[in-house]
C-alpha cells in the first residue's frame, strides 16, 4: 500500500457517551461491587474503561478496550503479593535491628513504584486498546524509565522542586514518544522552562485572583500537553490543537459541582461525561496522515500488574 495522502485536512474526534448510560454503568458496577464485597472492583474498572473507549469516535470508528476484569484481578493479586513481601521484609528489618529507621524504606519503595506503575499502565492500556483493529503499543523500557526517573527525581530534590517542571516534560517526552498506534508513532516535544513559567505564572495569577484564574491555568496546562504532541506516519503528520477555553472549564466545573451536590452525589456520571466532553470534543486534529494505511505492529500484552499498582498509588493517567 503505497498510498500517501498529502493534502492536509481536519480529523474527527468526539466523545459520544451520555450521562444516562454512564449512570447505568455506575449503578450496576456499584451493585456488583457491594454484593461481592469489593472483589468486583477490577471488573467494574474494565466496564467503565470499555464504555469510555467504546464511546470515543475517531474518523467514524470507535476505540475498543479489550482489557478484562480477570486480567486486572490477576494483576491485583500479583501486585498485592509483591507489596506484601516487600513490606514484610521491611518490617522484618525494623524488628531485627529494632530501629524504625527502616520505615523510611517504605517511602523509597512507594517512590520507586511510580515509574514501575507508569510503565505497566501504559504497556497494558495501550496494548489492550485498538482502533479499526489496530493495536496501540508502548515501547518504553522499564529499567531505562526507572533509572531516568530516579535521576530526574534526584535533580528535583536538590533544586528544591524547580527541576520538577523539566522532570514532567522529560517524563512526558519519554512516555508519549514510546506510544505507537500500529506503525504510526506519537511524539512530544516540550520545554521545561516554558512549562515552569506556565506553572509559576498560573500559580501566582490564581492566588491574585482568589482562585478564579485556576480554570484558565488548568486549560493552559492541558492544552500545553496536547499541543506539543503529534502523531507521525509515513512522513505525514497530525498536529493537535485544543480549542477549549478557561471559561469552559469554569462553567463545566460549576455545573458539575451543582450536579453532584443536588443529586447527593449520584449525578456524578453526568458530571464525568460533561468533563469528558470538554476534554475530548474540543480537540482539533489537523494533518495529512492516511488512516487506511496503519499496519498491525504491536504485540498483545495482558499483564495488568502495573496498572493495579497505579491504582493503589491513586494515580490517574486520564487515558
Amino acid at each position: 500500500m503505497e498510498l500517501t495522502q498529502t493534502e492536509k485536512r481536519n480529523y474527527d474526534l468526539k466523545f459520544i457517551g451520555t450521562g444516562k448510560e454512564f449512570f447505568s454503568i455506575f449503578i450496576v458496577n456499584w451493585l456488583l461491587t457491594i454484593v461481592t464485597l469489593g472483589i468486583y472492583y477490577p471488573w467494574a474498572k474494565a466496564n467503565r474503561l470499555e464504555y469510555i473507549y467504546g464511546n470515543t469516535e475517531f474518523e467514524k470508528s470507535r476505540f475498543k478496550f479489550h482489557g478484562t476484569g480477570l486480567e486486572m484481578f490477576k494483576g491485583l493479586l500479583i501486585a498485592l503479593a509483591g507489596l506484601l513481601v516487600i513490606f514484610g521484609m521491611i518490617m522484618g528489618l525494623v524488628y531485627l535491628f529494632n530501629s524504625i529507621f527502616f520505615v523510611f524504606l517504605i517511602y523509597l519503595v512507594i517512590f520507586a513504584l511510580i515509574p514501575f506503575a507508569i510503565h505497566g499502565t501504559l504497556k497494558y492500556r495501550m496494548s489492550r486498546t485498538t482502533w479499526r483493529g489496530i493495536r496501540f503499543g508502548y515501547r518504553g523500557n522499564r529499567v531505562e524509565l526507572i533509572q531516568k526517573f530516579i535521576g530526574w527525581a534526584f535533580l528535583t530534590v536538590i533544586t528544591f522542586g524547580i527541576y520538577g517542571a523539566w522532570m514532567t516534560i522529560k517524563l512526558r517526552t519519554y512516555a508519549v514518544g514510546n506510544i505507537k498506534m500500529g506503525n504510526a508513532k506519537f511524539n512530544f516535544k516540550g520545554d521545561g522552562g516554558t512549562y515552569l513559567g506556565l506553572m509559576l505564572g498560573g500559580y501566582l495569577l490564581s492566588i491574585i485572583t482568589l482562585g478564579i484564574y485556576s480554570f484558565w491555568w488548568r486549560r493552559d496546562l492541558y492544552a500545553y500537553h496536547l499541543e506539543n504532541a503529534w502523531l507521525e506516519h509515513d512522513g505525514n503528520k497530525i498536529n493537535i490543537k485544543y480549542t477549549g477555553k478557561g471559561s469552559d472549564f469554569f462553567v463545566t466545573d460549576l455545573l458539575n459541582i451543582l450536579t453532584i451536590i443536588f443529586t447527593l452525589g449520584f449525578g456524578t456520571p453526568w458530571a464525568e461525561v460533561r468533563l469528558l466532553n470538554l476534554m475530548i470534543n474540543k480537540i482539533e486534529l489537523y494533518g495529512n496522515i492516511n488512516f487506511d494505511n496503519l499496519e498491525q505492529t504491536e504485540q498483545d500484552y495482558k499483564d495488568a500488574t502495573g496498572e493495579d499498582i497505579g491504582d493503589m498509588l491513586n494515580m490517574d493517567f486520564g487515558i
Binding site: T33, R62, G133, L264, F266, L294
Partner: protein, 353 residues
C-alpha cells in the same frame, strides 16, 4: 432465517476499511463475510457481539478482526436471535434491564443503607460494646488523657480537693475514678472511659453550691459506668466504616456528604446518652442525700455558658431546656440533708489558695 446487511470489515492487519456484505444465518448462528478473494465464516460462539448507539460490532475473540454494521434491520435480527448477547455475564444482563431498573437499584441501595445506618448498625454497635474487653477502655482512656494533658496546666491543689470530695460520695462506680482539675476558662468537664474525669476551673468558678459539684461528678461517673464513650465510639466507627465500604471508591464527594448526614444520627444519640447520665447521676445524688437542685443549677450555668459533655472528639451539644425541665420535675420532693464535710471541701475548692 438468513439476513444480509451492509457492513464494514477490518482485517486486523491494517486499518483499511473494506465495505462489504455480511449474511447471518440465525439457525446455524454463523456470520458469512463476503470478501473479494474468499468468504469468512464466524460462529457466534467465537465472537463478541455488541450494539451501541445503532452500531453493531462483531469482534472475533482474541483477535483484532471485526466488522461493524449500521444496517438497523440486520442488527435487529442478530441481536434478537443470537443467544450469546443475552447469556453474556451478570453485568451485561443487568445493563440490559434498563434505566428504570437502575434507578430502582439506586433507590434500593439508598433505602437499605439508611436502614443500616440508622437502625441496624447503631443497635449492633451499641450491644457489641459488651464484647470489647474493659481493659480496652483503660488503654484508650489513658491514651486520650496523656495526649490532652500535655498541653494543659493542672491545678494540683484543686485536683486533690475534688478527689477527696468525690471519695466522700457513694458513686456506685465500677472503675476507680481519678479527678483532674485543669486551669482553663472553658466551662466544661468530661469523662474518659478509663475513669479519668477532667474538670476545667471555668466550670468550678461558676458553681455556687457543693450540690452542683456533686451533680457534675455524678453525671460524669455515670458516663464511665455506662461506657458511653465506648458506645459512641463504636457507633461512630461502625457508621464510618460502613459508609466508606459502601461508597468506597465510587466517589469521594458522595462519601463526605453521607458521612455528614450520618452525623445527625450521632447528635441525637449523644443526647440520649446525656439523658442516661443525668438520670443515673440524679440517683447517685439522691443516694448521697444531696440537694438535687444542684443538677438544675448546674444545667442553668451550662446553658448560659457552654456544654457538659463527652470528650469533644466524640460529640458536643448544648444543654437543652427540655433537659432542665425534666430534671426539675424529677428533683421535686427529694429528701436531702446538708453535708458539712462536702460543703467544707467545696469552700476550699472555691477559695483561691
Amino acid at each position: 432465517m438468513i439476513v444480509k446487511g451492509e457492513a464494514t470489515y477490518f482485517d486486523g492487519l491494517t486499518s483499511k476499511a473494506t465495505e462489504t456484505f455480511v449474511s447471518f444465518d440465525s439457525s446455524a448462528q454463523t456470520f458469512s463475510i463476503l470478501l473479494e478473494e474468499n468468504t469468512l465464516s464466524w460462529n457466534t460462539s467465537l465472537c463478541t457481539i455488541q450494539i451501541t448507539k445503532g452500531k453493531l460490532e462483531v469482534h472475533l475473540n482474541s483477535d483484532t478482526q471485526y466488522f461493524e454494521s449500521l444496517d438497523p434491520k440486520f442488527a435487529e435480527i442478530v441481536t434478537k436471535t443470537s443467544p450469546t448477547i443475552k447469556s453474556k455475564n451478570v453485568f451485561h444482563r443487568l445493563m440490559h434491564a434498563g434505566f428504570k431498573v437502575h434507578l430502582s437499584i439506586l433507590g434500593f441501595i439508598i433505602a437499605l443503607s439508611v436502614v443500616m445506618i440508622f437502625f441496624v448498625l447503631p443497635y449492633v454497635a451499641e450491644n457489641s460494646v459488651v464484647l470489647i474487653p474493659k481493659s480496652f477502655d483503660d488503654q484508650i482512656g489513658e491514651y486520650a488523657y496523656n495526649d490532652m494533658i500535655l498541653t494543659e496546666t493542672i491545678d494540683e491543689r484543686k485536683s486533690k480537693l475534688v478527689q477527696s470530695f468525690a471519695d466522700k460520695m457513694e458513686l456506685q462506680n465500677q472503675k476507680k475514678m481519678r479527678f483532674t482539675v485543669v486551669e482553663s476558662p472553658i466551662v466544661n468537664a468530661f469523662a474518659l472511659p478509663n475513669g479519668d474525669v477532667v474538670i476545667y476551673t471555668g466550670i468550678l468558678d461558676q458553681m455556687k453550691d457543693y450540690s452542683e459539684l456533686a451533680a457534675l461528678i455524678g453525671h460524669e461517673v455515670s458516663h464511665v459506668t455506662y461506657r458511653h464513650s465506648m458506645k459512641a465510639l463504636s457507633r461512630n466507627l461502625s457508621t464510618y466504616v460502613f459508609i466508606s465500604a459502601i461508597l468506597g471508591d465510587i466517589n469521594g464527594v458522595i462519601t463526605i456528604l453521607w458521612q455528614n448526614a450520618a452525623q445527625l444520627q450521632t447528635l441525637s444519640y449523644s443526647r440520649k446518652l446525656e439523658e442516661e447520665a443525668d438520670n443515673m447521676g440524679l440517683s447517685i445524688i439522691q443516694k448521697n442525700q444531696i440537694n438535687p437542685r444542684g443538677f438544675v443549677d448546674l444545667f442553668e450555668t451550662l446553658n448560659t455558658n457552654s456544654s457538659l459533655d463527652l470528650p469533644e472528639f466524640l460529640s458536643s451539644h448544648p444543654v437543652t431546656s427540655s433537659r432542665i425541665k425534666s430534671m426539675k420535675k424529677q428533683a421535686k420532693g427529694s429528701k436531702f440533708v446538708i453535708n458539712k464535710e462536702l460543703q467544707g471541701l467545696f469552700l476550699q475548692i472555691k477559695s483561691q489558695n
